[in-house]
């Protein structure tokens, strides 16, 4: 046997591993930094008390609350709309029709629009035009607009990845479109939906630019959805950029944000997996 292919093989393996390590190393470093600096000094007190001295001391209770409310509104608006649009695009409009092409193209463009543009739009439309003012509601709605394109497209992909045979055999058995959709297509499309959800939540939780103009940065407890409220990522931004001596709490908040993201992702996949198990038996 000749030796050359083996050497090439080794080299390629090294290259592949090398690139994986160099990428994950950065991620690991960031997480490590946040966990050690932020997680090390975290206590429950921090989660359940109000910020004092502009956030340098005290906790993040009201901020967590605002964040969760904003997220809740975002999801309540975007999940049903996203699912509905994805079903319309994948099941009721053909690949070539102008309508579908137009909608898909616009969504792809929207998905790439910088968040600051969504912020300005939200400010002009929700805050001013609809008179919602700087409020958690405006923020949530703006984020919903931002999250929708990704959510719709990945859910649509989920529906499209369901084999055509299921649709044909269901139709050949005289099953209605609705029950085919509900009992066969939807469970099979859930993974795509989940990807969209996770990406969407990630984007929403990480957002600062779109929220500064819409939900504002008041760090008191919100009394209603019409109140302004500060999101966690804005809090971190404010502490680390504008407030001297805020670094320690910025780190702690960042740690909370990361944990929050992980908890949401894991519980989403847990719920959907259980649901999937009940609805469908794969392989």
């Amino acid at each position: 046997m000749n030796k050359k292919p083996q050497l090439q093989d080794r080299f390629l393996t090294l290259l592949v591993y090398g690139s994986v390590i160099s990428v994950s190393w950065v991620l690991f470093l960031v997480l490590f930094d946040i966990c050690v600096t932020g997680g090390g000094s975290l206590n429950l007190e921090f989660l359940f008390s109000e910020p004092t001295s502009a956030g340098r001391t005290g906790g993040i209770a009201p901020i967590l609350m605002s964040t969760l409310f904003i997220l809740l509104i975002t999801m309540m608006v975007s999940l049903p709309l996203g699912l509905g649009s994805a079903i319309l695009l994948s099941e009721f409009s053909s690949e070539e029709k102008l309508f579908g092409r137009l909608v898909r193209r616009s969504l792809d463009v929207l998905a790439g629009v910088p968040s600051i543009c969504f912020g300005l739009f939200g400010n002009a439309f929700f805050c001013k035009r609809l008179g919602l003012g700087f409020s958690i509601l405006s923020g949530g709605l703006t984020l919903a607009c931002m999250v929708l394109p990704i959510l719709i497209r990945s859910t649509e992909e989920g529906f499209r990845s369901v084999p055509k045979e299921y649709r044909l055999s269901a139709a050949a058995l005289g099953l209605s479109r609705i029950s085919t959709l509900w009992h066969l297509l939807l469970p099979a499309a859930i993974p795509g939906f989940l990807v969209g959800f996770v990406l969407g939540v990630g984007r929403a939780l990480a957002e600062t630019a779109a929220l500064i103009f819409t939900s504002g940065y008041v760090d008191r407890f919100p009394r209603s959805l019409m109140d302004s409220g500060r999101a966690l990522s804005i809090h971190i931004y404010d502490l680390s950029m504008n407030i001297s001596g805020g670094d320690e709490n910025a780190y702690r908040s960042a740690f909370v944000l990361v944990v929050l993201l992980l908890v949401i992702n894991f519980s989403a996949s847990w719920v959907s997996e259980r649901w999937l198990k009940r609805k469908i038996v794969l392989s």
Binding site: S94, E165, Y166, R167, L168, S169, A170, A171, A172, L173, G174, L175, S176, S179, H183, L184, A188, I280, V281, L282, S283
Partner: protein, 274 residues
């Protein structure tokens, strides 16, 4: 709605098709994809309780033809059908014809076994429920009967909750046949039902099809002429003419396979044989 008492007697009585009665008749049936005809002017008669084999070279529109008989052609993009398909003397391609009911009366078996990604049990119960069998006891009784009838009961009775996709290909195909039978159809359309199976599973399915003869009107597309000759009462040969499928000859299996006067038919049958 499905009749309450699931009639097993029908399975046992097997007429020999000595007194053929027309059940389905196509009149000048033409189908085109994007304006290009896949087959043209097909006038075919299908008799009640008999097995009609449709044979012909690849791409001459046999699958497309079957799709017209249960209006699955409605689902194909850019597909246009003209002409008539008379099912018990009513044109099923009329707009107001009840497609859901049609597809319950005309079952279909595909070339590739395609059970739903559900449990074995749900594969049978789900369509039954959708067709109005609400009583679980009744549905399970039907399930047991059809599974027995396709010879699958003993193989799966202990694992009805297992995934249907965990069955072997042959078992999956028989499950699909059971799923179609559960709805009590009158007609079964089979598109090369054995060609994706190994010879042993294939012959099991073939045996099953012969058992169904008499109780059901069966239209079977197959490339296996020996099989067609073994099981069919009637046969039809599709062929190309100007890049579109046409019906060259139809008649009893004996006429087509053994004593055809038609040049093309004889050439095709000998060609495949020799």
């Amino acid at each position: 709605m499905i009749e309450k008492d699931f009639n097993t007697q029908a399975f046992e009585s097997r007429s020999q098709c000595c007194d053929p009665q027309t059940q389905i008749e196509t009149r000048d049936l033409t189908l085109s994809y994007k304006g290009k005809p896949a087959f043209k002017n097909i006038n075919l008669t299908i008799n009640r309780g008999c097995i009609t084999a449709v044979v012909g070279p690849s791409g001459c529109g046999k699958t497309s033809f079957l799709n017209c008989l249960n209006r699955l052609s409605d689902l194909m993009p850019h597909c246009e059908v003209s002409g008539e398909v008379l099912f018990d003397s009513k044109n099923i391609h009329e707009k107001k014809y009840d497609v859901g009911l049609l597809r319950r009366r005309v079952g279909m078996i595909f070339q590739k076994p395609n059970p739903f990604p559900l449990s074995i049990k749900k594969n049978l119960l789900f369509p039954l429920k959708e067709h109005g069998v609400r009583d679980p006891k009744e549905a399970e009784a039907i399930m047991e009967q059809v599974l027995m009838h396709v010879g699958l009961w003993n193989e799966v009775k202990d694992r009805l909750d297992a995934a249907a996709l965990s069955l072997s290909g042959g078992q999956q195909q028989r499950l699909c046949i059971a799923r179609a039978l559960a709805l009590k159809p009158e007609v079964l359309l089979m598109d090369e039902p054995c060609s994706a199976l190994d010879p042993i599973s294939g012959s099991k399915v073939e045996g099953l099809i012969t058992q169904l003869q008499g109780a059901y009107t069966i239209v079977i597309v197959t490339h296996n002429l020996a099989q067609a000759k073994r099981i069919a009462n009637f046969a039809a040969l599709f062929w190309f003419q100007e890049e579109a499928g046409v019906l060259v000859e139809q008649g009893t299996a004996l006429q087509i396979f053994d004593s055809s006067k038609n040049e093309i038919t004889r050439a095709y049958i000998q060609g495949v044989r020799g």
